[in-house]
Structures are given as structure tokens and as C-alpha cells.
Amino acid sequence: MSVSTAPRFVRADGPDKVTGSGRYTADLTLTGALVAKFKYAGISHGRIARLDTSAAKAMPGVFAVLTQDDVPDVRFGPFVQDRTLFARDVVRFEGEVVAAVAAVDAATAQRAVDAIVVEYELLPVVNDVEAALTPDAPLVHPEWASYGAADALVRDRNDASFASIAKGDVQRGLAEAHTVVRSRYVADGCHAAPIEPRAVVAQWEGNKVTIWSSTQVPFDARSGVCETLELPNNRVRIIVPHLGGGFGGKCGFHYEAHVAALARATKRPVRLVFNRREEFVAPDRRREGIVYEFETGVAADGTITARRAKLLIDNGAYTADAGFFSQIAAMHALGPYRIPNARADAHLVYTNHQPSGSVRAPTAPQTCWALESHTDEVARAIGMDPVEFRRLNAVDTGGEGPSGQTYGEIGVQQCIAEATTGAGYGQPLPDDEAIGVAIGWWPSFSVPSGAYVKLDGDGSGQIITGAQECGTGAVMTLRQLAADELGMDAEAFELVYQDTSVAPYDMGATGSQTLFNNGRAVVAAAGQIAEQLRNLAAEQLEASPADIVLAEGRAHVAGTPDRGIAIAELAGIAAGGELLIGHGSGMPPGPPPLVGSSCVGDLGMAAWVAPQFSCHAVRVKLDRDTGVVRVLHVSAAHDSGTIINPVGAQGQVEGAVLMGIGQALTEGTTYDEQGRQRNAALLEYKLQTCADAPPIDIHFVQIDTPDAGPRGAKGLAEAPNVATAAAISNALAQLVGAPVRQLPMTAERVWDAMNQEAQP
């Protein structure tokens, strides 16, 4: 399907956002609200020798100063319970919250923060993942063994989560290879950098608290508050006003409990609004830096005989949702290839950096960059065209992937064909331009989810969903699904989201899962109303319910469109009798079987439901005098199943590609010798701008996918962020004559590579 001819509809939150009538969390004002500010560690590792808040507490206008002593002594974390709300005894990264102030205004709050006295006994800073795993490395968490943790995690000292995926006999596969290629790559950490810095507002009424938060995952936020403040779910209500972008950066539980605790202590509403520096430094949501080593053996005909990969992933100081990163990174290090003998070992390594957490396709863009750069090295080592090498070795329908999963109908080969054709791969180019190609993959996440749908007496509908819209358009698309189920117009439905006390559970705007799972829920809920409408219409039209067709806002008898009644009229009848209310969830599809592989540290990330595939072909231009790279054109082909909302899908691909260009060339966090960020500001952390955006051609390969979401849809929000940096790397390597082995491939690093300066 060509995107331009697909049906278009206006997203429900669009006019609000464009005209400025929409309200974001920081826009909320509540009578008597106080301003919250945090005291941060400012150092990367130290034992708290003295913490004195008395001067701050005594200041006029200061209503509360809280530390870990003022909240329940609970260790929390989704995979490893290794952290507390406020620092307890030891601080482990610069953005760790030591104390929180609520005061009458921002200036007073800041003065109070400055008046808090903290003295530290400095501890050695763990600033490097390789050093962290040496036997005599200082431990970030000396008491790691006593922490609660998910049963499947394999932990050892600074290694917070080890995962291994193994199949066949790698030693033999390498020994039998015609050529073996070894490579090392280093990816720096980077950031989601949503335009809206986060905000939290909390207000207590009696023993219940309402928290407005700019979160992508309101139910996770609720769990965090309930766990750390020891409250039952039904007394904590999380509401999300419009969200100003997330990109994963607002996943997880963050500061909702801190603000709720301040509000409880002061008996006033309290509001926290981050500035840009805080947004960079404090949350446990940085995209993880990773060090890679690859070894791939190929036969003389170009088929892969074996691959070994080792990954050291920077966990940072605490294990947020990164527990699963080692296994999913291991999958990406093996890649969407047929490899008879494979082994990937991935370690999630504690350091004194800001903690890592899910940012758009966690671990995938940088691992795809490293693996696909290595793949081009392999192809060139045997004199084979890199695209031909991928056609030969990529997984295909009915084939077996590196974790022992046999795939149903998948579109990776079509993606390669579409992307390379769209890019004009093989055409003659000026000598400062080249086209690079990379393939990527990403799972769909099959999880529980719920929604209600109701039709009121006037025939207008509401979808009350637990899903969270973070800008992807997935929640917006729910209207289309409900409308189609009921033969109505999408515009007839309003969306009610996000309020954890109103709607059923959903995992949130994370893992590209909204349409896949909440779409299933909405279809099920709307289906219940459709059945009610058919029964009502059957009575009115004196026909059998099975013969009633719902279409174009009417219910009519099949074969005789004139014999019908408006759905609005049926809704009016229902309003005087049994109300039109549907609820839905649906059973999420289970994981596919793995055969012949063994997984250590298995968190279910090696068996992928409805996997998505992609191929990006990118034309770049290199300024050889300076190393500055400009992306001239991107051709992106995606198998994400059926595309239900083409305009939204196009926006997802365009945004993800631009984010991928930034990750490739300009976006990287650098640390000083003490593990503190050197470029925690938008001037020095270089996001791409609209002026940098190249033309992006998008090709959707839509095939019938087993176990997909509604109408065969898979996810889409993360997949287009996976292969861009890799494709840019492969174009650059042709121009430079060697890969640029560190991400981001900044102009200076490219120039160094051209001049054969030391690479990592």
C-alpha cells in the first residue's frame, strides 16, 4: 500500500496540541500548591558522612524537607531491588536524590536545597564497564547478594544481569570457517531527550492521593508509589494530562512517590517540574553504552558458519528496567541471521553512571550498528557485496533464527529488496557519497491489557482505555478500530485516557505494545456492543441478529440496505433499557517455542511473538576535509504487519529515522573522569533539527503474520529506530575505507578514522 493513498484521519489530540488549548502536567495549578526541588548528590560515589537539613527546615516559606528517614525503608526495582527513594548511606551517581524540599515558591525551595548540608566520604568511581568486571574492581553495591531480585537473573558482584544465548558448537563452526572476522565496537550512551521535561503534581484527599504525572507508564508509576509508600493500589490514582514526548525516557516509576510524600508531609498539593539539566542527569532512563566484541566465521560461499559475541552493557548505578537488556542485546548481537553455531554473552554492568533504562528499542540501535558494521566487514573480507551477503544469510519464512525460533511468514527479504531499490543501491555516485544498508529486527510484546467502550443515548461513543498516548498515535488509532467494529465513524468516539482509577490495566506506552494489545482489548469491548446493537436492531427490524450488518452508522438487514435503523436511534432505545457498555481484554498470544538453543538468564526475550523486520538504505555525503557527514536520503522498509493508521505510521518512521541519524552522528553522552555528564544540555547534546532532516522514503511490507495484533498489526514505534545508525555506518565505512568504531560517529571521530588515529 502506498502511504499517500491510504485513508487519513485527524488525531484526536492534534487540534489541542497545535492550538495550545491542550494542558500538560506543568500547566496544572492547584490552590495552595507548593514547589518541590531536589538536593542531588552531585558526586558519583560517596558515603554520606553527614546530612543536616535543620537550616533548610528553619527557613521561612519551607514546608518540608524529606530524606530517606522520612519514608518507609523499602528497596525497590523491577528486576533487582537495589535502590531506595532517597539515598541511604551511599550515593552512587551524580543525579541521585538525597533530599526533597517543598516550599512556597521556586526561589525559596532552591535556597532551602542550597542550605542542606551534606558531607561525603568519597568512594572510588567505577567509570568503565571493562574495568568494572576485573577481579579487584570496587563494587558499586557491596551488599548486592542480599538484594531481592527476579529469579531468572544471573548476578555476580558488578554484573547485575548476565544472559547467554547459545546454539550448536561455536568452536567447531569457527574452525570449519573459510574466513573468520573479529571486530570491536564501542557505543556511547545517549538520551531520549523528550521536549517536555517531566513534571509531577500530587494532592491528598483523606487517605487517597491523586498524582498527575508526565509518565508513559501510569500503572507502573502507581505500582512504584504503592510499593515505596506502602499503599494499596486503590488509594493511588495516576492521571496523565497531555504528554510532551517520551521516547522511553518517561517509562518506569520515577518521582511520583517523592512528590506524594512531600504533599502528605505538608498537607498541601505539591508540584515538581524538571529543568533540562535535571532531565538529562537524574532519571534512570539513559540509553546504555555498550562495548562489543564479535567473531564471525563464513564458508567460502558466504554462508555464516558461526558467530560469537560478547557485550558489556553499562547498567549505571541502579538496575531500573534494564534487567532484560542483556538478553535482548544478545539477540541483537546475533541478529536476524541463520547461524548454525551461535553464542552471545551479555553482561549488564554496574557503574557509577546515571542508571540505564528503556529508550526506544532498548539496546537495539547501537547493537544493530555494531553487528551490521561487523557484517559489512565480514562480507568485504570474502569479497561479497554486503546486500547479497544479507540476502544469503538473513532469516526467512520457515527458517530458524539464532535462538532456535522457527519463523512463520516474515518479510525481511522483501524489506531488503524494497529499501535498496528505493535508495538506488548500485547506482554510480560521486566519490564523496555512498549508500549503506543494514537490517534490523524487534519483537512485538504480547501482554495483558484492557479497555471499556460505551455508547451513550445520543449515539456518541467513548473509549475508556488503560493505554497511554506518548505521541505515537497508537491510542488515537483505537478510535478507528472501535468505529470499524461498530460500523461507525471514528470521529464519533472520544478517548478517555489516562486515569488508573477509571480504566483497566495496560502496560503503557512502552515496547510498541499499545495497538497490539490494547487494540485487541478495544476490539473485544466494541464487539460486545456490536452484539447488543445487532440484538436491538433485530427486534426493531424483525430479523435474525445474525443477519444484521453494522455499517455507515446504521444497522440493516444483510442484502437489503433499505431495511435499517440508525445506530444513534438504537442507542437512544438502549438508554431506556439495557445500557450499551462493553469491556474487553482478550488473551495475549503465548511465546513461540525455541528448539535446540539454551538460554542462561532467560527473561523471555529470545522467543519473539510476531517479530518485526526492517531494512534501511541510507545515502550519505562525507566532507573529507573535516569528517562532517550529511545524510542525503533514507529509504526505510518495514515489515510491521498491517498498517492501520498510515499517517501515524509514516510519522513514526520519520521520527525514528531522524532520532537514528542523531544517534549515529551527533548524540552521545560524554563523562568526565569522575563519571559525571559533560554535555547535559541541549546546546552540547546535539539533537538533529528539522533543517537536518533528509528526504525519507518509506516502504511498508504488509504480510499476513501469525499471532499478530488486531488485523495483523505488529508494533511499529521502536522498530524504525533500529537500523538507521547501522546503515549510516556502512555508508561511511566505504568512504573512510574502514568502519568508525565508536558511536556516535562524530565528525572528529570520522576524521580520526580517516587519519587512522587510534580507535577504541
Binding site: 555525503k621 562532517v628 542525503l632 551527533t666 528539522c690 533543517a691 562524530t746 565528525a747
Partner: protein
């Protein structure tokens, strides 16, 4: 804190005589205060309504640009974009369209950042800054104005009211390029401006080069030894001398080594572009997009 709105230049000078700092677009002062670089001064005088400082006029020996002329005014002005093209190259690279519509040439000059985009082109064109106070008026060659990062020789009560640029003369023009990692909201990693006058035979008659972000203030030099040589030779020498004489720092944007190399590249390209313009060729503003970094294919 006091905030005065000046209706006349004299209003502004009177306020400055009592310690007020002038504010026009606020793109340095306000942004700097928000980022904690320097607190807002306790007394401000708004000069943004002073019409007489918004002019741009031909004079007997060149052009006078009012201090409140914005970067947008400059990048779209028929005379400045042709005869004084290097300045337009610089203004067209500042920030974003929003910044360029409020940011003024006077503010840019007096902010005295070593990374400013209009400084090097003004310097190579031999511009002078007019400073006025209740005590009188004086003209200062622009290179003498800057005494360090963020520092000028202006007294606290002196207001920059205009910048005067001598006409380049026949077969002469300028160009400015910078190294940038993205095409908007960027700051020069390094930059270079060149003023080139050509003899009738196409050889160099005069050559000045100015460098951005490689020393505490804009660095300029006359390449007298290049007179009579070909443009290509002069450009190569300019590149070499620029790399040699720059004293760049290492920071999060670039290493000193890389800056030293790339400022030479910028200088060479600036000389080449200025020479092409001097020979009558039109190169679009900004020259960065037309032939340099980030040029489309």
C-alpha cells in the same frame, strides 16, 4: 531590579550613566541568565524601540548599520547580501529563524563571544564600532573592541549605536564559513572569514583572514605576503597559517587538535569563496550551505 524603556538614545544613555545595562533582543543576556552563566543585571534599559538604531544606510565610504539591525535584516538586505556578503553569511547562521528575528548586530558584537558568527567577517572588512555615551561619541576599530571572552574596551556607560564598514572597492568581497555539526541551533566549532581583493589579472591584491572560536577573541591577520599570488596558492597559505596561529582549546565540542586542523579548512574555503565573489560570481547566502559543510549534493 529596575527596567526602563528608552524612547530616545539620550534616554538610554542617561540610564546607562546610572549603571543600567542595555537590552534589545535578549538572546544572550536572557538566555545566559536562564542558564546560570551570569545573573540578569539589576538595572536594565530596553533599547529595542529606538528606531534610529534600526537603519542601514550607505555612506560616503561604505555602509552604516544601526546596532538594532537584526540578523534577519542583514541576511535579507540587498546591499549587505551582495557587497558585504561575509557578514550576511555569518548572520544567516545564527541560531534559528526566531533568534535571527530578535537578535541584533549590536548585541552580537558587544557580547564579545569568541564563537560569534558576525565577528570574523566584520573584522576582515575593517569595520569600526561607534560607541556613544553622555560624554560623547567615539569610533573603535572592531578588533580593538574585543579584549577577551565576553569583554570589550567599552566603558559601562557606552552604548554601541552602529557599526561602520568601509566599502570593499572594485573586485573585492568577503565570505564566512564555520564548522557545524548540525544546520540550525548551532554554535561555531571553528569558523573563518576572508576578505579578498583581486588585481585585474585575478591575482591577490589584498587578503585578510579572521578566525572564530580558536582564541580568546576573534583572531585576524593580513596576509600581505600573498599579494600578487594566485588565489589557490593564497588559500593554501591561509589554511596553513590559520592552523599554525590558532590557539584553540579542547572542550566537549572538539579537541584542540581537530579545531586547529579544521580552522585551516574553513580559512581555505573562505578565501576561495570570497575570491569567487570578488570575481563577480554569486554564491548564495550563507556560503556554508552553498559550498561548505552541509552543502546538499
Amino acid at each position: 531590579m529596575s527596567f526602563t524603556i528608552a524612547r530616545t538614545v539620550e534616554d538610554a544613555l542617561a540610564a546607562m550613566a546610572t549603571g543600567a545595562r542595555p537590552i534589545a533582543g535578549g538572546t544572550d543576556l536572557v538566555v545566559g541568565a536562564r542558564h546560570g552563566k551570569a545573573p540578569l543585571p539589576s538595572a536594565l534599559v530596553a533599547i529595542d524601540r529606538l528606531r534610529e538604531l534600526k537603519s542601514c544606510e550607505r555612506t560616503a565610504d561604505g555602509v552604516s548599520i544601526g546596532a538594532l539591525f537584526t540578523h534577519h535584516d542583514i541576511e535579507t538586505h540587498p546591499l549587505l547580501t551582495t557587497v558585504y556578503a561575509g557578514l550576511a553569511d555569518g548572520s544567516a547562521l545564527v541560531g534559528s529563524p526566531a533568534t535571527r528575528h530578535v537578535g541584533t548586530i549590536g548585541g552580537n558584537i558587544m557580547n564579545a563571544s569568541p564563537a560569534m558568527d558576525t565577528g570574523a567577517p566584520l573584522a576582515v572588512m575593517g569595520a569600526e564600532v561607534e560607541l556613544r555615551s553622555l560624554r560623547g561619541s567615539r569610533r573603535v576599530p572592531i578588533e580593538q573592541l574585543w579584549t577577551g571572552p565576553g569583554r570589550t574596551c567599552a566603558e559601562p556607560d557606552e552604548l554601541c549605536v552602529a557599526v561602520h564598514i568601509p566599502a570593499p572597492g572594485e573586485r573585492a568581497n568577503s565570505a564566512y564559513l564555520r564548522l557545524e555539526y548540525r544546520r540550525a541551533m548551532e554554535i561555531a566549532v571553528v569558523g573563518a572569514a576572508a576578505f579578498v581583493a583581486l588585481a585585474e589579472d585575478g591575482t591577490i591584491a589584498a587578503l585578510r583572514v579572521g578566525l572564530t572560536a580558536v582564541s580568546p577573541t576573534i583572531f585576524t591577520g593580513d596576509l600581505l605576503g600573498q599579494v600578487g599570488r594566485s588565489v589557490a596558492d593564497a588559500a593554501a597559505v591561509a589554511a596553513e597559517l590559520s592552523s599554525q596561529q590558532a590557539t584553540p582549546i579542547s572542550d566537549v565540542r572538539a579537541s584542540d587538535r581537530y579545531r586547529r586542523h579544521t580552522v585551516g579548512v574553513m580559512a581555505r574555503r573562505a578565501v576561495e569563496a570570497a575570491a569567487r565573489r570578488a570575481a563577480g560570481e554569486t554564491i548564495d547566502i550563507p556560503v556554508n550551505r552553498a559550498i561548505g559543510i552541509g552543502a546538499a549534493s
